[in-house]
Structure formats: structure tokens, C-alpha cells
Amino acid sequence: MTSLPPPSARKLGLVIDLDTCVGCHACAVACKEWNDGGSFGPLPDEDAYGAEPMGVWFNRVHSYEVQGIGNRELEIAAGVKPKTTHSCSSSIADSVLPAIAATQSIHFPRSCLHCETPACVTVCPTGASYKRAEDGIVLVDEDKCIGCQLCAWACPYGAREFSAKRGVMQKCTLCVDRIYNETLDEADRQPACVMACPTRARHFGDLGDAESDVSKLVAERGGYALMPEFGYKPVNRYLPPRPRRDAASAKPATKPSAEAIDTTQLPPLLRWVDRVLSR
């Protein structure tokens, strides 16, 4: 049934820390590996070892360069007028090194956000796409899916990928076949991506419970939802990168001296050596 269930108290989801993610793609690989053999697999690739491999992954890690404002939020908090252009800093006037640009690279894992009011569920004509009433996980019943792909069009987050090989839509299951799996050790009942992350940038838990670890983490670090303007109420949260030391607050680098030799001060022999080496 593609009508949405009444809002559930339990809202299972992920919290992803953009500060500690190093963009290693371990989450994406672990996800692909588990789900290729899990209850919702396989995830076959076309031309897997050829020139143009193409297949479904539930997890994709983007890398962005954020250019410009540095610690703008700190400056705003301190009452400093935000700068508009930030190519380089000129605060270290006497440094011969290029000034430190207020630029950071941020790795950004993207997967299903298990929205509270997902359009991918309501547009489904067959009832294959559904949201679980008990914990809010959004799933696809691959036996009912006709492969019309309307749900993928309806998702602004790119959470769903169509398997041309299998003719059905596939998506992140929040490892529903792990998190309730009593044959696994209790410590292993977490999504594969969370288990694999070497920097613990991914956290799994109940975001409907204000006292859960993930909810506390979100409150503490100012976790946010992606594109809330669509009104789909994503459950997953992203933790923003912590403020970086930028050019203004960073210590000036040790002044290198080699470039600034005043040859007139040198003894004649060394002046001659300098001239010879400078040719």
C-alpha cells in the first residue's frame, strides 16, 4: 500500500559526520558487498569488468570543494561583517608563501534518507514502494515492482537506482536484514556502512527518540536535514564540518629565508658563487 502509515514513534536512520568522513568509499563498498548477498540482492552490474561498468549502489560518496568564506559563521557570531570575496588572505603581508585560502574539501556520502513523508512511496502505482509503520524504513518489494521508475524521478536525493539487469528499482534498506538479524552478534546488528566506516563518521539509531545517542549527537553538533524545502522530512541527519583554522587565525608559517638573500652583504667569493649558480 503506497498510502503512508501514521507517523511512527521509532524513526530509524543514519547520522553522517561530514567533519570526520575522509571519502574512502568503504561504506559504499561494504554496502554493495552485503546487499549483493543479502535479502534484497543481488545487485548485478552490467559490463562489470569491461570499459563501462554500470550497476546499482545504495551509497555514493561525493567530494566537494567549498571555496570561500572560511569560518564565516564564527565571524558572524563575533560580529565581524562577512566578507564577500575570499580568494586569498592578505593578513600575513610579509609571508612569501602563498596565503592560505579559506577552502576545504568535504566528502559527502549520499544514500536514502528514509523520509517521513516520502514522495517515492506515494507516487508508486503498484504498492511495491512502502514505508514500514513500525520503524519508518522505506523499502521496495521487488516482487511487486513493475520498473516504471517514477519513484526515482520523485526523489530529489537520488536514493533510488533502477537495475536494468533485474528490471526493478532498488534502494538502501537500512540493512533491515542485519539490524534485526538474531543470527548476528548484537554488536553487528548495524548497517554494513556503519560497521565499515574507519573514522566512525556514520552512526545508526532511533532519531525519533530524543534520548538516543544519535539524537544527542545531532543536538550537540547541529545536525541538519538535506533540502527540507521539498517537505519530505528526511530522517537522516548530517553533522556539519567543525570550524577550520583559517588564514586569519592560523599561525604564520616560519619565514623562509633562502629566497631573500641580499647579495651585496656577501663576501666577494660567495657573491661570485651566487652569480655562477644564478645563471
Binding site: G68, F108, T126, C145, G147, C148, W153, E161
Partner: protein, 352 residues
Amino acid sequence: MRPTFSIILFTVLSGAGYGLWILLGLVLATQWPVCVAGAILVGGDTTTLVCVYPTALTYAFVAGFLMVTIGLSASLAHLGKPLRAWRAMSQWRTSWLSREGVLSLLTFLPAAAIAIYAWKWGAVSTDSAGTFWSNPRTFQAYGAALALGSLVTVYCTANIYACLKPIHGWNNRFVVPVYLLLALYSGFLLLWAFKSLPDASVSLSSLREARWNLALGVGIVTLSIAVAATKLGYWKSIDEPAKTTTGDATGLGYLGDVRSFEQPHTEENYLTHEMGFRVARKHSRKLRLICLTTAFGVPGSLALLSLLVPGLGVVAAWISLFSGMLGIFAERWLFFAEAKHAVMLYYGARSA
């Protein structure tokens, strides 16, 4: 969005078929059958009524049926699992695609009733009241149901696209009016072409024939202007620069200008293949011009000309039909090709 041939064929052909059925239904509900007393003796019964329909309506019925059926079948070609298509009838409470499926099937009911009526009772009714099933009034009700069903089906088709918020060019107030008007317009072009055939209107009195010619001519001229104006409004609205950026999509915009420097994958994936389709601006401008000229300019001018010079008849009507359908195909191709999906913001699109 990738312009998939099966979906373009589906929306254009079924739109035209339903447009034709809307007109046919309206004509059946309000104009025909025209019944006259006692012109033919059937079994010596002198009270026989002869009810007449112009042959053009038969053509319209059959052509509408073929176009709707071919169009709907083409939509199945887009599915990953076409044999499960019957499941799409179940979620009409929330899904426009499901509603479209249900209504398209329901619309075949009055169409079947009209076909059975025409085949079994033909043009002849045994008395002025007739039995319930053979009564001309019942036939008019079938016509009204056919027109209504066709109209609502096209409305649902348009809403499949218009309800998708991540696609700025579809979640747009012009989309539903354009779909409805274009369906009606292509119906007019088809009906004009059938009406112009040599034996299509032999049963018409000259007064009725003149009225019909006037209605078709005025309808096509008016609609060509109306649809072209609506389409220009649509293009103007999608050309306004979109405000959403990669910074908004990632929530990192407050830190500065967010640019993608490395993609998650080196080859295409489903998302970039399906939603990353782009058409060059200079090409889309040219195609818009081709669309306006062939879809609206040529048929509109020829319809106006044939109102003034009645002798043009069949040539003008069929040139208009081919030119018009070509233009509508171009319009639908652009509708997909020019639409941008919000997910491409994650892949470094500068706006969507």
C-alpha cells in the same frame, strides 16, 4: 531528463487519441444521431426511424481506439517488468500513474458500448423510443461518458509529471493546461483530416456541413493560438534561472561556494544517465522554433486559409495533420530534454 522514445510515443499518441475521443464524445452527445422517420422499409414496418452518422465519426472512433491502444502499449515498453503492469491499477488513492491506468481502462467501456451499439443496431432504430440499449438517448450518454473519461485520463497523464517536485520544469502550473490543450488540439487536427476525406460527410445536409467546417476551422485557429501562447508562457517560466544550488542540496552553502571536484563513480550510473540528460541551449532554441512553426503556425494558417477559401479541403487538412503531429513530437521531446532534476545538483550541476 532523458527523452525516452516509448514515453514520448505514449504521451503524444494517447493524448491525440483521447483528444479525438473527447471531440467524438461531445459530438455524439450533442449532435448525433440525427434520426428521420420512415425512409427505409424494414420488414414492412413503416414506422422505422433511420438514424444517420457521418462516416468521419466512424473514422474518428477507430483512429482514436488505435492511437490510444498503441500509445498505452508503448508505455509498457518503458517498464522493467511489463507483465506485472496489471499491478499498477491498485494504488489510485495516492498515485497519478495508477489513476491514469484505471481511467484509461474505464474509458474503454463507453468506447466498447459505442462500438457494440453501432455494430448491432447500426444506423437503424425500430421505433422512435427504441429499447433502452438501442435508444439514441443512451447512445448520447455513451458519448458523454467517452468524452469525460478521455478528458480525465489526459488530466491524470499530465499530473504524473506535474506532481514531481524535484523536476522544476514539470512541477509547473503550465504543464497540465498544455497537456489538455495539446490533446484537444491534436484531436481537432485529426477530425479535420477525416472530415476532409471524399466520402466522410455524404450523409450531411449542406447546412450541417457548413456548420461543421466552420466549427473545425475556428477551433483549430483558436486552439493553435491558445496552445502556442501557453507553451510560450511555459518556456518563459522554465528559463528563469533556478535558485537551488549544490550548496543548498548539500546544506554546505553557508560555508561558501560548493563545487564538485570528484564524482562518486568514474562511469555513468542510472541517475546520471536518466536525469543528467542535457540539451544544448542553441539546439533547444532551434527546436522550440521548429515546434512553434510546425505544430501551431502551419496548421493555424492553413485552417484560417481554408475558412476563407473553402476549396482547399483535403490537402490543407492532411498537411496540417502531419505538420502538427511532427511539431507535437518535438514539443514532447523538449518537455523531457529540457527538464532538469534536482539530484544533478549533487553531481555538480550549477542549478536545478
